[in-house]
Amino acid sequence: MNPMLGFRAMVYKEVLHALRDRFALIFAFMMPLFQMVILGFAVDTNVRQVPTAIFDQSGLTSGDGTAGSSASREFIDRLRNADTFHVYKFVHSDAEMNEEMVAGRARVAVKFPPEFARDLLRGETAQVLVLVDGSDSSVAGQAVTVTGQIGLDESLRRLLGEQAARPIEVRPKIMFNPASRSPNFFLPGMVAILLIFVTTMLTAFSVVREKERGTLEQLLVTPVRPLALMLGKITPYFALGVAEVCALLLFMNFVFEVPIHGNPLLLTLLSSCYLFVNLTIGVLISTKANSQAEAMQLAMMIMLPSIFLSGYIFPRDNMPWIFFGLSYLVPATYMVNISRGVILRGAGPAELWLDALVLFVLGVVVLLLAVRRFKSMIV
């Protein structure tokens, strides 16, 4: 018997459903774009203008009674000139400094002890205390690095004199994203996550809805083959997914000015493998879930690991080995790589065919699992 019997019927019906409920369709289509706008504008991982409090006791020993010394003022000026810090306040006691930190008004506090200027004059090592709020790791890391840098620079200047050339100069060059723009780094990866909405979720809901209404039971008594039923279900959402990819890429390119270094057509083609996996996962979820609420929860269970394990937010290289291994099972991992590869690095088929192949194979495996589960559900 024709294994695709009923495929056209399913596509016909699904398209009608989608057109009937135009609002839901438009909403599903627009949601990823909205999310991209929010994240694109809000997320900036470059640490700038960190509120900084200064407690300068170094003037006390100089005997003139004023706060600060010329040495500490030089150091403070360098902090001010660094874009990283925003010196907003001078405090006058340890207690006050502590309070600024605890209240969260200051992320960084720099304390010059009374001996600071004296030690410098005597040629001894002078100490500066830098307190850093560790509740945000990227801010903390940046603050420690930059203050260390400033300290080192000041030390060198004092040792070598103002004009002397530094023996070694390191000149870092950031490839692919020279301006270190956050959207360039975040948006390509985010495409992978956003696509889950219009693929996995929509298909899962659409099958479960039929379960709830009892129409699935009716379909089971017809000669429609499980494979035809599932492929018929996912085909319209596949088309929607491709349209979504195009919309996201256009948005990223024109609104957020993220340049696409590779071939956008290739990217769309490779993402279709990713869409396919996500759609089959949606069908698999729907064979398991009996209500839309249940389907939603299962979809969430798929989505959270996708966000955290795919390397979209946290670099995979830093993961403990077990999670690193697990991340290979997350489709979004490959899509993040494909997307960043084409958009940022200008990668082509030679670099990315394996990712696409893995996605396609994953999709076929999940589809077969879903068909098997579906057949056992009939019985």
Partner: protein, 316 residues
Amino acid sequence: MAAIIADNLVRRFDAFTAVDGISFTVQPGEIFGFLGPNGSGKTVTIKMLCGILPLSGGTAHVDGIDVGQDPDAVRARIGYMSQKFALYDDLTVRENLRFYGMVYDLYGRRLERRMDDIIARINIETYLGRQAGKLSGGWKQRLALGCALLHEPTVLFLDEPTAGIDPVARRQLWDLLFELSGHGITFFVTTHYMDEAERCSHLAYIYYGRIIADGTPAELRRLPGITPERTYRLEITAGEVTAALRQARQIPAVRSATIFGRSIHALVDDACPQDQLTQMLTHSGVKIEEVRTLLPSLEDVFVELSERRQKELEAA
């Protein structure tokens, strides 16, 4: 050739036997009523006959095809309509019909022809553009039936097709079923309504996995033991029915008596023939309008058979 032949059908779910060796034969064009309490195995039987639930034992032939051997071929040959009327609420009447036609591999001109035929038969021309969800229960039911008929099935399974439908729509559906059965379509119907059971040409009663009665409605009413031995049933229509009931209950030969509308149904000893009883009642002042002998109702039959079977089960 019979439309449905079930031979010693068995279905087990782990330790539980839902259907325990049932056999029956349904002839083409029959309206076969399959009755029984909830949970007695009706739906499981339908699912086995429709080829969506494998048999644990026995064989079943539907329209000459062995269900166990070729369930796909059976599914292409039969129609199925559940009490939920599996229609797509957001699709119009015409779209629902077209979808179910395509599901059965009907396309193009053949599909259009079949749709026109069904639309005329279920008389739904007026509502073609309306969304199925906005139809009344009766129309939904007709549409669901139409969808199940598009591919010209020879056997149609209807699982409680009239649950929750108003009496007029029920009557209309049955009229339609009679008309279709006249064209040779065989119907396998489950129902809880006794008046519908009366209209079936062939009945089987399943009780906890076993068929305990099989025959025409008339045959079932005459089953031995439904009316206790050496008794008969009478329907007595009288002027003041409550007074008449009181009087009837005082006569020793009347084993039991209950009111049905304006008349009394009484179970009477053979020792006291009908004439004698009417005389006795007239003497005690009852104004009798009509007296006729009564067969047990199907409800009587099923209640009696169920109780008897229950006692057997408890004894075992």
